[in-house]
């Protein structure tokens, strides 16, 4: 049987008079009971600007800011040619630099760091294919597209697709759905505009 925080809380609300248990928890990051492969994905520029964040474990807004600041400091200050792993608060952060961007993923202690490096590379290759030799500016102005791609690659912190072609195909199909909808909308508004002339 596993301890389930929500369950316990609901349980406790029903019984009045006795306060909730004080569960042993990390004061900085509570609710970290579930293990999953990737806890979050972070893209930071060399200047420490955030280009993409995706949280698969619950972090409050405050925690997120803190994590980003802390990790930015650690990772950006590491020299070249060092290993791509950083131990951080009992987790491991795997990072890799591509041009001016650092791609970081936070994983559990027992996860396969080398594989995560491979996943990062996988992601970069798909981005590269989609944008055609991707650069930081692409990711700034089309950040939502980068998120769409990430969502086809990872789900619930786990890898969902190992084929770059499939991801590209799925994204293209959805992009064209959006295009069609736009065209329809504009043609409808054209018709309306002409009709009301």
């Amino acid at each position: 049987m596993r301890h389930n925080p929500e369950e316990a809380q609901r349980h406790q609300k029903s019984e009045s008079g006795i306060p909730a248990f004080e569960a042993p928890e990390n004061p900085d990051f509570p609710f970290r009971l579930l293990s999953r492969m990737i806890h979050f994905v972070l893209l930071i520029s060399r200047q420490g600007k955030v280009r993409l964040t995706k949280w698969y474990s619950p972090y409050s807004q405050k925690e997120r800011t803190k994590v980003i600041r802390e990790l930015g400091g650690v990772i950006l200050s590491r020299g070249p040619k060092l290993c791509n792993f950083v131990d951080w608060r009992g987790f491991k952060v795997v990072y890799k630099r591509y041009a001016s961007l650092y791609f970081c993923m936070c994983i559990d202690q027992d996860d396969n760091e080398l594989e995560v490096l491979e996943i990062i590379h996988h992601f970069v290759e798909i981005l590269d294919r989609y944008f055609g030799s991707v650069c930081e500016l692409d990711l700034i102005f089309n950040f939502h597209k980068a998120y769409y791609i990430l969502d086809e690659l990872l789900l619930a912190g786990e890898l969902q697709e190992s084929s770059k072609k499939t991801v590209a195909r799925l994204i293209a199909a959805q992009d064209s759905l959006v295009e069609t909808a736009k065209e329809q909308a504009s043609s409808i508004s054209n018709i309306i505009a002409q009709a009301t002339k």
């Binding site: 049987m1 569960a23 980003i68 060092l82 131990d87 396969n112 590379h121 998120y147």
Partner: protein, 876 residues
């Protein structure tokens, strides 16, 4: 369109933000945009909703608050078109997390979209559900997801599989519904589905033993075959990474096999061949190949023993360790750490290489290597390894010194073959990195020195020498000052000279010099200075010739701005001047400090001990008056024999001796001592905060009676009291306490806990098929509100329970304090005990009630038992 809306496009906003030269400019742009978006929201503007939300996402990424846009996500999701939904779901995942109440509102839309005719909309909904669903949503939508596991399009099936992982993690009892569909997904050919299905099975095995059994029996062979096919497959461009077909699938299969093989010889046997094949055939010149090898080694280490395979695995790690790539070396160290539990001998063979890694230029590798070295040390190799590490302490950078020092101290303590070696090593560490040595570590050193009577001379001389050459290491100075104070006479007279020592001539004034330097050095902190003061007092009796000089030094602190120092210097001065007759007895050498008690206290202060005490019953500042009253009563009534006296712990002596330690963070917190706040300074000053009042009073009365000078010393004490008006601060009855601390060492400590209160029957508070908890009660006489409960946990099963943790919760009118359990491992049919203290503020009106939770691991599985205890005796 509303007048405030800037109507800028997303692209224009990003451009505007990027062109900002200062943070203030950026804030202004963002504020303007946010105002426009808010206005649009309040007007319920539909045309630009998706654009506004896209802007908000960008603003959110910059770290600005965007909570006002949360409802907009829901509206977009509820709209019918794919583009709106796509943005809406993206924003939902970005702006909200599972802990927000708003999220519940989206459940209905999600349900509709999971049943949508457009597969891409189903995909969006699954993605959102998988990334941020809460337990309630998981419960509500599990049937939909289960159904989608059989959807015609594989891309939906794979999403549904990952979504199921989230669901079973949130609500583990739903796991059984997913076992069969997951097993059928394993037969698929589509890699995406296969990857996610294997992952789902892995997670099912983690939450449900039923699933583990099922997959072990039904799927092991199939999985082995899948892996074999993969390993032997010809080149397939779609999944190829550096010449290997789908390393991701490889790794996931190996992970699942690891879980299936663990603890099951048959399953392990079934996978031996393929593991051997993977371990030998995979190319190790690219990262992808190494990732697979690494995973394969992990699997080999975890499954049931097969000698040949293990050798293969250790050899791979050996190869990794000598690799030039830092990543590979890092993972090798990581895996060797796990291999320690399997084959320590094999890992020992790589000791030299691992030691080299401790000196690596890469901090991550250094740390990993140090962790591993720490595991490698045993009685036989502790000397050379410690020498290496201490040698490296000089060269390491500041950041790493702290970790390294910690590890060295811990190793030296754990494995030291003899005391003199321990003292030597600690001295080296203190001289090299004293500022990184934790308080409890140098406290422990003092305890050891105090216990090693034949080494007193050696230690004090070595410390004296070290403190002459190194002055900037605070904790070295403290230990040195303490020892000079205690063993000053030995230092000067060269008592107990060992053969290995070089002769040294220290005059009495040299010794006083050393202490004077410590007290006058401006970098010394309060603790050091206060320790130096005490040392001086002690030396004044040991070295009568320096008495006048010592008095001068002590007097110089009379004007100290630090209350503690001022008070002590006034008191000491008073002792020197007026009480020559008791001085010698007062400053006698400390009795030997009790090692067992000290280590017990240290163990109690480990962070693992979880106390659910609801209040800081012992350290409330208002409590001063009460504990202080007792000593006074005792002082006046010296013949009172029935003073309530819990067994006084020798370990307290050290703390009392160092009772000046005001640095709140560094004080080794005992289990009975909640974190100190600033208000406790006074308590600390009076040194009554940490020791129960009864204890100090009892020893005080002991001393006084043993001195056989009742009236005189009572007068002395009163004289002292009046001399320190500053400290009295309206609490004059409390001020004798410091004196009593000085005297503390004299008391023949053991005093049996007398059972004065009425006896209560013990009761079985909780019993299940596997565990029984019984309570024994006792009361401290004179304190009817407080009940001491001795809980005994008895293991009723033939299995060992690990990580045993008992927690209790009480209503507000009770205060609970939990001491750590006697052990966190409960042997089969054995028992452990844990004591707690409950204070009932409604004593006589309400009886005790308690909810309990007991967590432990049985055979690696977490077990949680909960219950409520209502059958306490009435009058507790």
């Amino acid at each position: 369109m509303n007048p405030f809306s800037s109507g800028t496009r997303l692209r224009d906003m990003i451009r505007a933000i990027r062109s900002c030269k200062t943070a203030a400019e950026e804030r202004a742009v963002v504020r303007k945009e946010c105002a426009a978006i808010r206005a649009a929201i309040s007007e319920n503007d539909q045309d630009y909703r998706h654009r506004n939300l896209a802007k908000l996402m960008f603003i959110h990424m910059l770290g600005y608050p965007t909570h006002f846009g949360q409802m907009e996500c829901l509206k977009l999701i509820a709209s019918s078109g794919f583009p709106e939904k796509r943005i809406g779901y993206l924003a939902l995942m970005l702006l909200l997390d599972e802990r927000q109440e708003v999220l519940m509102l989206v459940t209905n839309s999600l349900k509709q979209d999971l049943n949508h005719s457009n597969q891409y909309i189903i995909g969006l909904a699954l993605c959102a559900l998988g990334n941020i669903c809460s337990a309630e949503m998981a419960r509500d939508l599990a049937p939909e997801v289960e159904r989608l596991l059989q959807f015609r399009d594989p891309n939906i099936r794979k999403k549904a599989a990952l979504c199921s992982i989230r669901i079973i993690k949130k609500v583990p009892d739903l796991a059984e519904n997913f076992i069969n569909p997951a097993a059928s997904l394993l037969r698929e050919k589509h890699h995406g589905v296969l990857i996610t299905a294997v992952q789902l099975c892995t997670d099912l095995c983690k939450v449900s033993s039923e699933a583990l059994e099922y997959f072990r029996e039904k799927c092991t062979e199939g999985l082995v075959k899948t892996l074999k096919d993969m390993a032997n497959s010809s080149y397939s461009p779609e999944y190829d990474v550096a010449g290997i077909t789908d390393p991701f699938l490889h790794i996931r299969l190996l992970k699942l096999l690891r879980i299936l093989g663990q603890g099951d010889p048959d399953a392990s046997d079934c996978m031996n061949d393929i593991l051997a094949q993977v371990a030998t055939k995979i190319e190790s010149n690219k990262n992808a190949g190494n990732a697979i090898l690494y995973e394969c080694v992990g699997t080999i280490m975890s499954i049931e023993d097969n000698g040949g395979l293990r050798v293969l695995a250790i050899n791979i790690l050996g190869r990794f360790l000598s690799n030039r790539d830092n990543n590979i070396r890092y993972v090798a160290l990581n895996m060797l750490m796990k291999a320690m539990t399997v084959d320590a001998q094999a890992v020992q063979r790589h000791r030299a290489t691992i030691l080299e890694c401790v000196k690596d230029s890469d901090a991550s590798i250094r740390k990993k290597a140090l962790d591993l070295v720490y595991l490698l040390v045993n009685e036989s190799n502790v000397k050379p390894l410690t020498k290496e590490l201490i040698g490296y302490l000089e060269a390491s950078d500041q950041e790493f010194k702290g970790v390294l020092t910690d590890k060295i101290c811990s190793l030296v303590e754990k494995f030291s073959p003899e005391k003199i070696w321990y003292i030597d090593q600690m001295l080296k560490v203190l001289s090299e990195a004293g500022s990184f040595v934790k308080d409890e570590v140098w406290h422990a050193l003092i305890v050891v020195i105090s216990n090693a009577s034949d080494l007193h001379g050696y230690s004090v001389r070595a410390l004296y020498r070290a403190s002459q050459t190194t002055t900037e290491q605070e904790s070295l100075v403290r230990v040195a000052v303490w020892c000079i104070g205690e063993y000053g006479d030995i230092l000067v007279n060269n008592v107990g000279m060992l053969d290995i020592e070089e002769p040294i001539t220290v005059t009495e004034s040299d010794a006083v010099d050393a202490v004077e330097v410590a007290i006058k050095r401006h970098t010394s902190d309060l603790t050091t200075k206060a320790m130096a003061l005490i040392a001086l007092l002690k030396l004044s009796s040991r070295f009568p010739s320096c008495s006048a000089r010592i008095k001068d030094i002590i007097l110089q602190n009379k004007q100290s701005f630090v209350l503690e120092l001022q008070q002590r210097s006034i008191e000491f001065n008073c002792i020197l001047q007026k009480h020559q007759n008791v001085r010698a007895a007062l400053v006698e050498r400390m009795p030997v400090l009790d090692e067992a008690t000290f280590s017990g206290r240290r163990a109690g202060s480990l962070p693992t001990s979880v106390s659910t005490s609801t209040g800081t019953a012992h350290n409330i500042p208002n409590g001063i008056a009460k504990p202080a009253a007792a000593p006074v009563a005792d002082l006046l009534d010296l013949s009172s024999d029935d003073a309530p006296a819990p067994s006084s712990s020798g370990g307290d002596f050290l703390q009392d001796l160092l009772g000046v330690d005001l640095s709140t963070a560094s004080a080794p917190p005992s289990a009975s001592q909640p974190p100190k706040g600033g208000t406790d300074v006074l308590l600390d000053l009076l040194s009554i905060g940490t020791s129960p009042p009864a204890q100090s009073s009892s020893s005080a009365s002991d001393i006084l009676s043993s001195i056989q000078d009742n009236t005189a010393s009572l007068a002395n004490l009163n004289g002292l009291t009046s001399l320190s008006p500053l400290s009295a601060n309206g609490n004059s009855p409390a001020s004798p306490a410091p004196v009593m601390d000085l005297l503390d060492g004299f008391g023949p400590s053991p005093q049996k806990n007398e059972e004065n209160g009425p006896a209560y029957p013990s009761l079985v508070a909780y019993e299940s098929s596997s565990l029984r908890m019984s309570f024994n009660f006792s009361k401290q006489p004179g304190n009817p509100q407080t009940t001491l409960i001795q809980a005994t946990f008895t293991n009723l099963s033939p299995n060992v329970y690990n990580d045993f943790l008992f927690q209790a919760a009480v209503p507000k009118f009770l205060q609970l304090h939990l001491d750590p359990a006697s052990s966190n491992t409960l042997p089969a049919n054995g028992s452990i005990s844990q004591s707690m203290k409950v204070t009932n503020s409604q004593h006589g009106k309400k009886s005790l009630v308690m909810r309990i939770r007991i967590a432990y691991k049985m055979n690696g599985k977490e077990v949680l038992e909960e219950g409520q205890v209502n059958n306490f005796p009435r009058d507790l």
